[in-house]
Protein backbone atom coordinates (compact mmCIF):
# COMPACT_ATOMS: atom_id res chain seq x y z
CA UNK A 1 0.00 0.00 0.00
CA UNK A 2 1.44 3.36 -1.03
CA UNK A 3 1.65 5.95 1.70
CA UNK A 4 -0.94 8.70 1.68
CA UNK A 5 -0.47 11.16 -1.15
CA UNK A 6 -0.44 14.66 0.31
CA UNK A 7 -1.46 16.31 -2.94
CA UNK A 8 -1.30 20.08 -2.52
CA UNK A 9 -4.61 21.80 -3.07
CA UNK A 10 -4.60 24.49 -5.68
CA UNK A 11 -4.30 28.10 -4.58
CA UNK A 12 -6.48 30.50 -6.53
CA UNK A 13 -5.99 34.25 -6.35
CA UNK A 14 -9.04 35.51 -4.44
CA UNK A 15 -11.42 37.74 -6.41
CA UNK A 16 -10.63 40.64 -4.09
CA UNK A 17 -7.04 40.61 -5.48
CA UNK A 18 -7.79 39.70 -9.09
CA UNK A 19 -10.24 42.45 -9.85
CA UNK A 20 -13.30 40.26 -9.36
CA UNK A 21 -16.32 40.99 -7.21
CA UNK A 22 -15.41 41.02 -3.53
CA UNK A 23 -17.18 38.32 -1.64
CA UNK A 24 -19.82 39.05 0.95
CA UNK A 25 -20.66 35.86 2.80
CA UNK A 26 -22.67 35.76 5.99
CA UNK A 27 -20.08 33.52 7.63
CA UNK A 28 -16.30 33.42 7.38
CA UNK A 29 -14.68 30.25 8.69
CA UNK A 30 -11.01 30.38 9.58
CA UNK A 31 -9.24 27.01 9.54
CA UNK A 32 -9.90 24.04 7.26
CA UNK A 33 -9.21 21.34 9.84
CA UNK A 34 -11.91 18.79 10.55
CA UNK A 35 -13.97 21.34 12.47
CA UNK A 36 -13.92 24.22 10.00
CA UNK A 37 -14.62 21.87 7.10
CA UNK A 38 -17.49 20.16 8.90
CA UNK A 39 -18.97 23.55 9.80
CA UNK A 40 -18.85 24.70 6.17
CA UNK A 41 -20.73 21.59 5.04
CA UNK A 42 -23.27 21.83 7.85
CA UNK A 43 -24.00 25.49 7.11
CA UNK A 44 -24.23 24.75 3.38
CA UNK A 45 -26.81 22.06 4.10
CA UNK A 46 -28.86 24.81 5.74
CA UNK A 47 -28.34 27.03 2.71
CA UNK A 48 -25.88 29.39 4.41
CA UNK A 49 -22.93 30.57 2.31
CA UNK A 50 -19.44 30.59 3.78
CA UNK A 51 -15.90 31.54 2.87
CA UNK A 52 -13.48 29.02 4.37
CA UNK A 53 -9.84 30.11 4.57
CA UNK A 54 -6.80 28.11 5.60
CA UNK A 55 -3.18 29.16 5.80
CA UNK A 56 -2.01 25.83 4.42
CA UNK A 57 -2.74 23.79 1.30
CA UNK A 58 -2.51 20.18 2.41
CA UNK A 59 -4.60 18.05 4.72
CA UNK A 60 -3.36 17.24 8.23
CA UNK A 61 0.20 15.92 8.03
CA UNK A 62 0.50 12.77 10.10
CA UNK A 63 -2.53 10.81 11.14
CA UNK A 64 -3.26 12.86 14.31
CA UNK A 65 -6.85 12.00 15.19
CA UNK A 66 -7.64 8.41 14.30
CA UNK A 67 -10.54 7.36 16.54
CA UNK A 68 -13.98 8.56 15.50
CA UNK A 69 -16.82 7.77 17.82
CA UNK A 70 -20.31 6.62 16.96
CA UNK A 71 -21.94 9.96 17.67
CA UNK A 72 -19.37 11.70 15.46
CA UNK A 73 -20.12 9.26 12.66
CA UNK A 74 -23.80 10.03 13.04
CA UNK A 75 -23.03 13.74 12.73
CA UNK A 76 -20.74 13.08 9.77
CA UNK A 77 -23.48 10.97 8.19
CA UNK A 78 -25.78 13.96 8.30
CA UNK A 79 -22.96 15.86 6.57
CA UNK A 80 -22.63 13.13 3.94
CA UNK A 81 -19.15 11.67 4.53
CA UNK A 82 -19.69 8.88 7.06
CA UNK A 83 -20.28 6.12 4.52
CA UNK A 84 -16.89 6.79 2.95
CA UNK A 85 -15.25 6.94 6.35
CA UNK A 86 -16.87 3.70 7.43
CA UNK A 87 -15.86 1.98 4.18
CA UNK A 88 -12.23 3.05 4.53
CA UNK A 89 -11.88 2.95 8.31
CA UNK A 90 -11.10 0.08 10.64
CA UNK A 91 -14.13 -0.78 12.75
CA UNK A 92 -13.41 -1.82 16.30
CA UNK A 93 -15.21 -2.10 19.58
CA UNK A 94 -13.10 -4.33 21.76
CA UNK A 95 -10.44 -2.93 24.06
CA UNK A 96 -7.99 -5.11 25.96
CA UNK A 97 -6.02 -3.95 28.93
CA UNK A 98 -2.82 -5.62 29.93
CA UNK A 99 -0.56 -5.33 32.91
CA UNK A 100 2.86 -6.53 31.94
CA UNK A 101 2.02 -9.47 29.66
CA UNK A 102 -1.22 -10.44 31.40
CA UNK A 103 -4.63 -9.38 30.17
CA UNK A 104 -6.51 -8.01 33.17
CA UNK A 105 -9.65 -6.70 31.59
CA UNK A 106 -11.47 -6.14 28.32
CA UNK A 107 -14.31 -3.89 27.34
CA UNK A 108 -16.84 -4.10 24.54
CA UNK A 109 -18.00 -0.66 23.55
CA UNK A 110 -21.22 -1.47 21.77
CA UNK A 111 -22.78 -4.70 22.81
CA UNK A 112 -26.14 -3.46 21.47
CA UNK A 113 -27.81 -4.26 18.13
CA UNK A 114 -29.81 -1.91 15.99
CA UNK A 115 -27.39 0.95 15.25
CA UNK A 116 -26.21 2.05 11.81
CA UNK A 117 -22.72 2.96 13.08
CA UNK A 118 -20.26 1.03 15.18
CA UNK A 119 -18.90 2.29 18.49
CA UNK A 120 -15.68 3.48 16.86
CA UNK A 121 -13.73 3.48 13.67
CA UNK A 122 -10.09 4.28 13.23
CA UNK A 123 -9.31 6.50 10.28
CA UNK A 124 -6.45 8.90 9.84
CA UNK A 125 -7.39 12.56 10.09
CA UNK A 126 -5.99 13.22 6.59
CA UNK A 127 -8.58 10.93 5.02
CA UNK A 128 -11.37 12.53 6.97
CA UNK A 129 -10.24 16.01 5.94
CA UNK A 130 -9.89 14.90 2.32
CA UNK A 131 -13.44 13.52 2.29
CA UNK A 132 -14.76 16.71 3.86
CA UNK A 133 -12.92 18.89 1.33
CA UNK A 134 -14.41 16.82 -1.48
CA UNK A 135 -17.82 17.13 0.13
CA UNK A 136 -17.39 20.92 0.28
CA UNK A 137 -16.92 20.86 -3.48
CA UNK A 138 -20.52 19.60 -3.77
CA UNK A 139 -21.64 23.11 -2.78
CA UNK A 140 -19.82 25.38 -5.24
CA UNK A 141 -22.38 28.14 -4.84
CA UNK A 142 -22.26 28.06 -1.06
CA UNK A 143 -18.74 27.13 0.05
CA UNK A 144 -15.85 29.25 -1.16
CA UNK A 145 -12.70 27.32 -0.17
CA UNK A 146 -9.56 29.39 -0.06
CA UNK A 147 -6.30 27.66 0.73
CA UNK A 148 -3.10 29.59 1.39
CA UNK A 149 -5.17 32.47 2.73
CA UNK A 150 -3.95 33.31 6.21
CA UNK A 151 -5.89 35.41 8.65
CA UNK A 152 -3.53 38.03 10.06
CA UNK A 153 -5.89 40.38 11.81
CA UNK A 154 -9.51 41.09 12.58
CA UNK A 155 -11.87 43.66 14.02
CA UNK A 156 -15.56 43.57 14.79
CA UNK A 157 -18.48 45.89 15.42
CA UNK A 158 -22.24 45.39 15.86
CA UNK A 159 -22.72 44.53 12.18
CA UNK A 160 -20.00 41.96 11.73
CA UNK A 161 -16.35 41.09 11.47
CA UNK A 162 -13.69 42.40 9.14
CA UNK A 163 -10.83 40.00 8.59
CA UNK A 164 -7.41 40.84 7.20
CA UNK A 165 -6.19 38.00 5.01
CA UNK A 166 -2.77 37.41 3.54
CA UNK A 167 -1.93 35.50 0.36
CA UNK A 168 1.06 35.23 -1.95
CA UNK A 169 -0.65 37.90 -4.07
CA UNK A 170 -0.95 40.29 -1.17
CA UNK A 171 -3.46 41.21 1.48
CA UNK A 172 -7.17 41.87 1.34
CA UNK A 173 -10.10 42.40 3.63
CA UNK A 174 -13.22 40.34 3.93
CA UNK A 175 -16.41 41.25 5.77
CA UNK A 176 -18.80 38.73 7.24
CA UNK A 177 -21.66 38.83 9.70
CA UNK A 178 -20.03 36.07 11.78
CA UNK A 179 -16.57 34.57 12.00
CA UNK A 180 -16.02 30.99 13.10
CA UNK A 181 -12.61 30.61 14.65
CA UNK A 182 -11.68 27.01 13.81
CA UNK A 183 -7.99 27.82 13.72
CA UNK A 184 -6.83 25.08 16.05
CA UNK A 185 -5.01 24.76 19.35
CA UNK A 186 -2.64 27.66 18.69
CA UNK A 187 -5.45 29.93 17.55
CA UNK A 188 -4.22 33.32 16.42
CA UNK A 189 -7.75 34.67 16.75
CA UNK A 190 -7.79 33.71 20.41
CA UNK A 191 -4.55 35.60 20.90
CA UNK A 192 -5.75 38.58 18.92
CA UNK A 193 -8.81 38.88 21.13
CA UNK A 194 -6.54 38.57 24.15
CA UNK A 195 -8.48 35.64 25.58
CA UNK A 196 -7.19 33.52 28.39
CA UNK A 197 -6.90 29.78 27.67
CA UNK A 198 -6.90 28.40 31.18
CA UNK A 199 -6.33 24.86 32.35
CA UNK A 200 -3.79 22.23 33.24
CA UNK A 201 -0.52 21.32 31.57
CA UNK A 202 0.66 17.74 32.04
CA UNK A 203 4.40 17.18 32.22
CA UNK A 204 4.31 13.64 30.96
CA UNK A 205 5.77 13.09 27.49
CA UNK A 206 4.48 10.58 24.97
CA UNK A 207 5.94 9.17 21.80
CA UNK A 208 3.46 8.61 19.03
CA UNK A 209 4.50 6.56 16.02
CA UNK A 210 2.57 5.42 12.99
CA UNK A 211 4.18 2.27 11.72
CA UNK A 212 3.54 0.58 8.39
CA UNK A 213 3.78 -3.18 8.56
CA UNK A 214 2.13 -6.36 7.38
CA UNK A 215 0.64 -7.80 10.50
CA UNK A 216 -2.59 -9.51 11.29
CA UNK A 217 -3.29 -7.92 14.65
CA UNK A 218 -7.03 -7.88 15.27
CA UNK A 219 -9.03 -4.64 15.10
CA UNK A 220 -8.86 -3.93 18.80
CA UNK A 221 -7.45 -1.31 21.12
CA UNK A 222 -4.64 -2.73 23.22
CA UNK A 223 -3.43 -0.88 26.25
CA UNK A 224 -0.58 -1.94 28.51
CA UNK A 225 0.36 -0.81 31.97
CA UNK A 226 4.03 -1.51 32.58
CA UNK A 227 4.63 -3.86 29.63
CA UNK A 228 7.84 -5.88 29.56
CA UNK A 229 8.76 -4.20 26.26
CA UNK A 230 8.53 -0.75 27.85
CA UNK A 231 9.00 -1.15 31.60
CA UNK A 232 7.49 1.30 34.06
CA UNK A 233 5.39 3.11 31.44
CA UNK A 234 2.19 2.62 29.49
CA UNK A 235 1.69 1.72 25.84
CA UNK A 236 -1.18 1.75 23.37
CA UNK A 237 -1.61 -0.01 20.04
CA UNK A 238 -4.31 0.78 17.50
CA UNK A 239 -4.91 -0.42 13.98
CA UNK A 240 -5.53 2.01 11.11
CA UNK A 241 -6.30 1.41 7.44
CA UNK A 242 -3.47 0.85 4.93
CA UNK A 243 -1.63 -1.47 7.35
CA UNK A 244 -0.69 1.40 9.59
CA UNK A 245 -0.49 0.84 13.32
CA UNK A 246 -0.56 3.65 15.87
CA UNK A 247 1.81 3.06 18.74
CA UNK A 248 1.73 5.40 21.69
CA UNK A 249 4.42 5.10 24.35
CA UNK A 250 4.56 6.99 27.60
CA UNK A 251 8.07 8.36 28.10
CA UNK A 252 7.91 10.03 31.50
CA UNK A 253 8.26 13.73 32.31
CA UNK A 254 12.00 13.99 31.76
CA UNK A 255 12.24 12.59 28.23
CA UNK A 256 14.12 14.69 25.69
CA UNK A 257 11.56 15.33 22.96
CA UNK A 258 14.11 16.07 20.23
CA UNK A 259 16.21 12.98 20.91
CA UNK A 260 13.19 10.71 21.31
CA UNK A 261 11.82 11.59 17.92
CA UNK A 262 14.96 10.38 16.09
CA UNK A 263 14.56 7.12 14.17
CA UNK A 264 17.58 5.58 15.91
CA UNK A 265 15.72 5.99 19.21
CA UNK A 266 12.26 5.11 17.92
CA UNK A 267 13.08 2.01 15.85
CA UNK A 268 14.47 -0.09 18.73
CA UNK A 269 11.42 0.81 20.83
CA UNK A 270 9.09 -0.40 18.08
CA UNK A 271 11.13 -3.53 17.44
CA UNK A 272 10.54 -4.54 21.04
CA UNK A 273 6.79 -4.46 20.44
CA UNK A 274 6.39 -5.90 16.98
CA UNK A 275 9.25 -8.37 17.08
CA UNK A 276 10.88 -9.58 13.88
CA UNK A 277 8.29 -8.14 11.50
CA UNK A 278 9.69 -5.62 9.02
CA UNK A 279 8.13 -2.18 9.38
CA UNK A 280 8.53 1.41 8.25
CA UNK A 281 7.98 4.58 10.24
CA UNK A 282 5.26 6.67 8.64
CA UNK A 283 5.00 9.50 11.17
CA UNK A 284 6.59 10.18 14.54
CA UNK A 285 5.86 12.84 17.08
CA UNK A 286 6.71 13.46 20.73
CA UNK A 287 4.19 15.46 22.67
CA UNK A 288 2.92 16.39 26.06
CA UNK A 289 -0.58 17.60 26.55
CA UNK A 290 -2.83 20.08 28.12
CA UNK A 291 -6.44 20.36 29.10
CA UNK A 292 -7.62 23.92 28.59
CA UNK A 293 -10.64 25.84 27.49
CA UNK A 294 -11.80 29.34 26.81
CA UNK A 295 -14.07 30.78 29.43
CA UNK A 296 -16.64 31.55 26.74
CA UNK A 297 -16.81 30.35 23.13
CA UNK A 298 -18.95 33.19 21.78
CA UNK A 299 -17.34 36.63 21.67
CA UNK A 300 -19.97 38.78 20.02
CA UNK A 301 -19.58 37.90 16.35
CA UNK A 302 -16.52 35.72 16.73
CA UNK A 303 -17.36 32.13 17.65
CA UNK A 304 -14.80 29.53 18.63
CA UNK A 305 -15.19 25.82 17.86
CA UNK A 306 -12.88 22.82 18.05
CA UNK A 307 -9.32 23.00 19.35
CA UNK A 308 -9.31 26.80 19.34
CA UNK A 309 -11.97 26.62 22.08
CA UNK A 310 -10.82 23.61 24.08
CA UNK A 311 -8.04 21.05 24.08
CA UNK A 312 -7.77 17.72 25.85
CA UNK A 313 -5.28 14.89 26.07
CA UNK A 314 -5.74 12.34 23.30
CA UNK A 315 -6.62 9.49 25.68
CA UNK A 316 -10.34 9.11 25.20
CA UNK A 317 -10.34 10.53 21.67
CA UNK A 318 -12.27 13.55 22.79
CA UNK A 319 -10.50 16.30 20.82
CA UNK A 320 -11.75 15.92 17.28
CA UNK A 321 -14.89 14.16 18.43
CA UNK A 322 -15.66 16.97 20.85
CA UNK A 323 -15.12 19.53 18.11
CA UNK A 324 -17.64 17.77 15.89
CA UNK A 325 -20.18 18.07 18.69
CA UNK A 326 -19.49 21.83 18.61
CA UNK A 327 -20.25 21.95 14.89
CA UNK A 328 -23.41 19.92 15.31
CA UNK A 329 -24.59 22.18 18.10
CA UNK A 330 -23.62 25.50 16.56
CA UNK A 331 -24.46 25.34 12.88
CA UNK A 332 -28.23 25.02 13.05
CA UNK A 333 -28.35 27.89 15.50
CA UNK A 334 -26.14 30.10 13.41
CA UNK A 335 -28.11 29.23 10.28
CA UNK A 336 -31.38 30.10 12.04
CA UNK A 337 -29.91 33.43 13.14
CA UNK A 338 -28.54 34.27 9.69
CA UNK A 339 -31.92 33.41 8.17
CA UNK A 340 -33.64 35.45 10.90
CA UNK A 341 -35.63 32.50 12.15
CA UNK A 342 -34.02 32.98 15.55
CA UNK A 343 -32.58 35.90 17.45
CA UNK A 344 -28.83 36.26 18.10
CA UNK A 345 -29.35 35.32 21.75
CA UNK A 346 -29.72 31.69 20.64
CA UNK A 347 -25.92 31.68 20.52
CA UNK A 348 -25.86 31.83 24.31
CA UNK A 349 -27.12 28.25 24.28
CA UNK A 350 -24.11 27.20 22.20
CA UNK A 351 -21.90 28.55 24.95
CA UNK A 352 -23.96 26.88 27.63
CA UNK A 353 -24.32 23.49 25.96
CA UNK A 354 -20.83 23.15 24.56
CA UNK A 355 -19.03 24.44 27.64
CA UNK A 356 -20.90 21.71 29.48
CA UNK A 357 -19.63 19.24 26.86
CA UNK A 358 -16.07 20.57 26.90
CA UNK A 359 -15.94 20.33 30.69
CA UNK A 360 -17.10 16.74 30.52
CA UNK A 361 -14.34 15.98 28.02
CA UNK A 362 -11.71 17.81 30.03
CA UNK A 363 -12.74 16.04 33.22
CA UNK A 364 -12.59 12.64 31.59
CA UNK A 365 -9.32 13.15 29.83
CA UNK A 366 -7.70 14.66 32.95
CA UNK A 367 -8.79 11.69 35.02
CA UNK A 368 -7.37 9.27 32.44
CA UNK A 369 -4.12 11.16 32.26
CA UNK A 370 -3.70 11.11 36.03
CA UNK A 371 -4.43 7.42 36.15
CA UNK A 372 -1.79 6.74 33.52
CA UNK A 373 0.84 9.02 34.95
CA UNK A 374 0.17 9.28 38.69
CA UNK A 375 2.20 11.60 40.87
CA UNK A 376 4.57 9.85 43.26
CA UNK A 377 3.06 9.09 46.66
CA UNK A 378 -0.61 8.47 47.36
CA UNK A 379 -1.65 8.85 43.74
CA UNK A 380 0.72 6.06 42.71
CA UNK A 381 -0.28 3.86 45.67
CA UNK A 382 -3.93 3.95 44.68
CA UNK A 383 -3.24 3.54 40.97
CA UNK A 384 -1.10 0.48 41.61
CA UNK A 385 -3.54 -0.88 44.18
CA UNK A 386 -6.32 -0.59 41.59
CA UNK A 387 -4.26 -2.55 39.06
CA UNK A 388 -3.36 -5.15 41.70
CA UNK A 389 -6.99 -5.65 42.64
CA UNK A 390 -8.18 -5.60 39.03
CA UNK A 391 -6.28 -8.78 38.35
CA UNK A 392 -8.47 -10.55 40.89
CA UNK A 393 -11.69 -8.62 41.39
CA UNK A 394 -14.31 -7.37 39.00
CA UNK A 395 -15.11 -4.14 40.80
CA UNK A 396 -11.55 -2.85 40.48
CA UNK A 397 -11.57 -3.37 36.72
CA UNK A 398 -14.17 -0.64 36.54
CA UNK A 399 -11.71 1.74 38.22
CA UNK A 400 -8.89 1.05 35.74
CA UNK A 401 -8.80 4.08 33.48
CA UNK A 402 -6.83 3.71 30.25
CA UNK A 403 -8.93 6.44 28.57
CA UNK A 404 -12.70 6.80 28.73
CA UNK A 405 -13.71 6.95 25.12
CA UNK A 406 -15.89 9.71 23.77
CA UNK A 407 -19.59 9.12 24.29
CA UNK A 408 -22.45 11.41 23.30
CA UNK A 409 -22.93 14.27 25.67
CA UNK A 410 -26.35 14.71 27.20
CA UNK A 411 -27.76 18.21 27.40
CA UNK A 412 -30.44 17.37 29.93
CA UNK A 413 -29.90 20.64 31.83
CA UNK A 414 -30.08 22.86 28.78
CA UNK A 415 -32.28 25.95 28.79
CA UNK A 416 -33.57 24.92 25.34
CA UNK A 417 -35.35 21.86 26.73
CA UNK A 418 -38.99 21.76 27.74
CA UNK A 419 -40.06 19.70 30.72
CA UNK A 420 -40.64 16.01 30.05
CA UNK A 421 -44.39 15.50 29.62
CA UNK A 422 -44.24 11.92 28.42
CA UNK A 423 -44.59 9.96 31.60
CA UNK A 424 -42.10 7.55 30.01
CA UNK A 425 -39.18 5.83 31.65
CA UNK A 426 -37.24 5.40 28.37
CA UNK A 427 -33.85 7.15 28.43
CA UNK A 428 -34.68 9.53 25.57
CA UNK A 429 -35.33 12.49 27.90
CA UNK A 430 -35.16 16.09 26.66
CA UNK A 431 -31.52 16.96 26.01
CA UNK A 432 -30.50 13.46 24.92
CA UNK A 433 -29.08 12.82 21.50
CA UNK A 434 -31.48 10.53 19.65
CA UNK A 435 -30.59 6.86 19.63
CA UNK A 436 -30.58 5.26 16.21
CA UNK A 437 -32.83 2.37 15.21
CA UNK A 438 -33.55 0.44 12.02
CA UNK A 439 -36.78 1.49 10.33
CA UNK A 440 -38.43 0.91 6.96
CA UNK A 441 -40.20 3.46 4.79
CA UNK A 442 -43.95 3.19 4.11
CA UNK A 443 -42.90 1.54 0.82
CA UNK A 444 -40.80 -0.97 2.71
CA UNK A 445 -37.30 0.38 1.96
CA UNK A 446 -34.94 -0.29 4.85
CA UNK A 447 -33.27 2.65 6.49
CA UNK A 448 -32.25 4.22 9.77
CA UNK A 449 -34.09 6.54 12.10
CA UNK A 450 -31.27 9.07 12.35
CA UNK A 451 -31.23 9.52 8.58
CA UNK A 452 -34.78 10.83 8.88
CA UNK A 453 -33.91 13.27 11.68
CA UNK A 454 -31.65 16.29 11.75
CA UNK A 455 -31.10 19.35 9.58
CA UNK A 456 -34.48 20.77 10.62
CA UNK A 457 -36.93 20.40 13.50
CA UNK A 458 -38.80 17.11 13.30
CA UNK A 459 -41.88 16.07 15.20
CA UNK A 460 -41.47 12.34 15.68
CA UNK A 461 -44.78 10.65 16.44
CA UNK A 462 -44.80 7.09 17.65
CA UNK A 463 -47.89 5.06 17.02
CA UNK A 464 -50.29 7.91 16.30
CA UNK A 465 -49.87 10.85 13.96
CA UNK A 466 -49.95 14.40 15.35
CA UNK A 467 -53.49 15.69 14.86
CA UNK A 468 -53.72 18.97 12.98
CA UNK A 469 -51.18 21.16 11.23
CA UNK A 470 -47.62 21.73 12.43
CA UNK A 471 -46.03 25.16 12.85
CA UNK A 472 -43.79 26.37 10.01
CA UNK A 473 -40.31 24.85 10.08
CA UNK A 474 -41.33 21.56 11.67
CA UNK A 475 -41.65 18.38 9.68
CA UNK A 476 -43.62 15.36 10.83
CA UNK A 477 -42.26 11.82 10.99
CA UNK A 478 -44.67 9.09 11.86
CA UNK A 479 -43.54 5.66 12.93
CA UNK A 480 -46.48 3.29 13.06
CA UNK A 481 -49.66 2.58 11.13
CA UNK A 482 -49.61 4.56 7.85
CA UNK A 483 -46.01 5.75 8.31
CA UNK A 484 -42.54 4.26 8.73
CA UNK A 485 -42.20 0.82 10.28
CA UNK A 486 -40.33 -0.05 13.40
CA UNK A 487 -38.87 -3.18 11.83
CA UNK A 488 -37.01 -4.61 14.80
CA UNK A 489 -39.01 -3.09 17.64
CA UNK A 490 -35.99 -0.92 18.50
CA UNK A 491 -37.89 2.36 18.21
CA UNK A 492 -40.53 1.19 20.66
CA UNK A 493 -37.88 -0.10 23.07
CA UNK A 494 -35.75 3.06 22.91
CA UNK A 495 -38.45 5.72 22.65
CA UNK A 496 -41.75 4.26 23.82
CA UNK A 497 -44.75 6.13 22.44
CA UNK A 498 -46.12 9.66 22.23
CA UNK A 499 -44.52 12.62 20.43
CA UNK A 500 -40.97 13.95 20.38
CA UNK A 501 -39.76 17.34 19.18
CA UNK A 502 -36.27 16.83 17.76
CA UNK A 503 -33.75 19.57 17.09
CA UNK A 504 -31.77 19.86 13.86
CA UNK A 505 -28.79 18.39 15.75
CA UNK A 506 -30.83 15.25 16.55
CA UNK A 507 -31.23 16.16 20.22
CA UNK A 508 -34.60 15.92 21.90
CA UNK A 509 -36.11 19.28 22.79
CA UNK A 510 -39.39 18.05 24.27
CA UNK A 511 -41.63 15.01 24.49
CA UNK A 512 -45.28 14.53 25.27
CA UNK A 513 -47.71 11.71 25.75
CA UNK A 514 -50.59 13.74 24.29
CA UNK A 515 -50.47 16.07 21.30
CA UNK A 516 -50.87 19.71 22.33
CA UNK A 517 -50.46 22.46 19.74
CA UNK A 518 -49.75 25.17 22.32
CA UNK A 519 -47.15 23.07 24.06
CA UNK A 520 -45.43 22.44 20.72
CA UNK A 521 -45.26 26.14 19.92
CA UNK A 522 -43.99 26.91 23.38
CA UNK A 523 -41.32 24.21 23.03
CA UNK A 524 -40.16 25.59 19.70
CA UNK A 525 -39.99 29.04 21.19
CA UNK A 526 -37.99 27.67 24.10
CA UNK A 527 -35.64 25.98 21.64
CA UNK A 528 -34.97 29.41 20.16
CA UNK A 529 -37.17 29.40 17.08
CA UNK A 530 -39.36 32.48 16.66
CA UNK A 531 -43.07 31.72 16.66
CA UNK A 532 -45.14 34.32 14.87
CA UNK A 533 -48.58 33.47 16.21
CA UNK A 534 -48.04 32.43 19.80
CA UNK A 535 -51.29 31.74 21.53
Amino acid sequence: MAPYDYAPIEYVTPPELSGGTPKEAPVLIVGAGPIGLAAAVDLALSGVATVLVDDNNVVSVGSRAICWAKRSLEILDRLGVADRMLAKGVTWKLGRIYRRAREIYQFDLLPEEGHKFPAFINLQQYYMEQYLIERCRDFPGLIDLRFKNRLVGLSQDETGVTAELETEDGRYQLKAAYLLACDGARSLIRQQLGLEFGGTVFEERFLIADVVMDADFPSERWFWFNPDFHPGQSALLHKQPDNIYRIDLQLGPDADAEAERQPEKVIPRIEKIVGERPFKLDWVSVYSFQCRRLEKFVHDRVIFAGDSAHIVSPFGARGGNGGLHDVDNLCWKLAAIVKQEAGPDLLASYDEERIHGADENIRNSSWSTRFMSPEPGAETWFRDATLDLAERFGFARRLVNPGRLSVPCSLSDSALNSADQSGLATPMVPGSPCADAPIASPQGAEGWLLNQLGGRFVLLSLGQAWPGALPAGVEPLLIGEGGWQDTGGFVAARYGNGHYLIRPDQHIAARWQEADADALRAALQKAGIRQTEMV
Binding site: W381, D384, T386, L389, F393, F395, A396, L399
Partner: protein
Amino acid sequence: MALNTEFNFSEQPDQLYNDLIALHEGLDEAQSAALNARLILLLMNQIGDAQTIRAAFAAARQPS
Protein backbone atom coordinates in the same frame (compact mmCIF):
# COMPACT_ATOMS: atom_id res chain seq x y z
CA MET B 1 -26.65 7.35 53.97
CA ALA B 2 -25.08 9.33 56.77
CA LEU B 3 -21.67 8.29 58.05
CA ASN B 4 -22.10 6.03 61.06
CA THR B 5 -19.74 7.41 63.69
CA GLU B 6 -20.97 5.15 66.48
CA PHE B 7 -19.13 1.90 67.15
CA ASN B 8 -20.35 -0.58 64.54
CA PHE B 9 -18.14 -3.72 64.49
CA SER B 10 -20.00 -7.00 64.76
CA GLU B 11 -17.84 -8.11 67.70
CA GLN B 12 -15.75 -6.67 70.50
CA PRO B 13 -13.28 -4.04 69.22
CA ASP B 14 -9.86 -5.23 70.35
CA GLN B 15 -9.44 -8.41 68.34
CA LEU B 16 -10.36 -6.80 65.01
CA TYR B 17 -8.20 -3.75 65.70
CA ASN B 18 -5.33 -6.05 66.54
CA ASP B 19 -5.92 -8.00 63.31
CA LEU B 20 -5.49 -4.77 61.37
CA ILE B 21 -2.16 -4.09 63.07
CA ALA B 22 -1.06 -7.67 62.50
CA LEU B 23 -1.92 -7.36 58.85
CA HIS B 24 1.00 -4.95 58.44
CA GLU B 25 3.52 -7.06 60.29
CA GLY B 26 6.77 -7.59 58.44
CA LEU B 27 5.95 -5.00 55.77
CA ASP B 28 8.09 -1.98 55.07
CA GLU B 29 6.46 1.43 54.68
CA ALA B 30 5.93 1.15 50.94
CA GLN B 31 4.35 -2.29 51.30
CA SER B 32 2.15 -0.99 54.09
CA ALA B 33 1.07 1.94 52.01
CA ALA B 34 0.20 -0.42 49.15
CA LEU B 35 -1.77 -2.67 51.46
CA ASN B 36 -3.66 0.27 52.89
CA ALA B 37 -4.52 1.46 49.41
CA ARG B 38 -5.88 -1.95 48.44
CA LEU B 39 -7.80 -2.15 51.68
CA ILE B 40 -9.38 1.26 51.26
CA LEU B 41 -10.48 0.43 47.74
CA LEU B 42 -12.03 -2.85 48.87
CA LEU B 43 -13.86 -1.18 51.75
CA MET B 44 -15.00 1.72 49.56
CA ASN B 45 -16.56 -0.71 47.17
CA GLN B 46 -18.20 -2.59 50.02
CA ILE B 47 -19.80 0.62 51.32
CA GLY B 48 -20.73 1.68 47.82
CA ASP B 49 -22.83 4.67 48.77
CA ALA B 50 -20.95 7.69 47.41
CA GLN B 51 -22.35 10.10 49.97
CA THR B 52 -21.20 7.96 52.87
CA ILE B 53 -17.77 7.52 51.33
CA ARG B 54 -17.38 11.25 50.82
CA ALA B 55 -18.44 11.89 54.40
CA ALA B 56 -15.74 9.45 55.50
CA PHE B 57 -13.20 11.27 53.29
CA ALA B 58 -14.08 14.56 54.95
CA ALA B 59 -13.93 13.07 58.44
CA ALA B 60 -10.58 11.41 57.73
CA ARG B 61 -9.05 14.54 56.24
CA GLN B 62 -9.37 16.28 59.62
CA PRO B 63 -6.41 15.08 61.67
CA SER B 64 -8.20 15.46 64.98
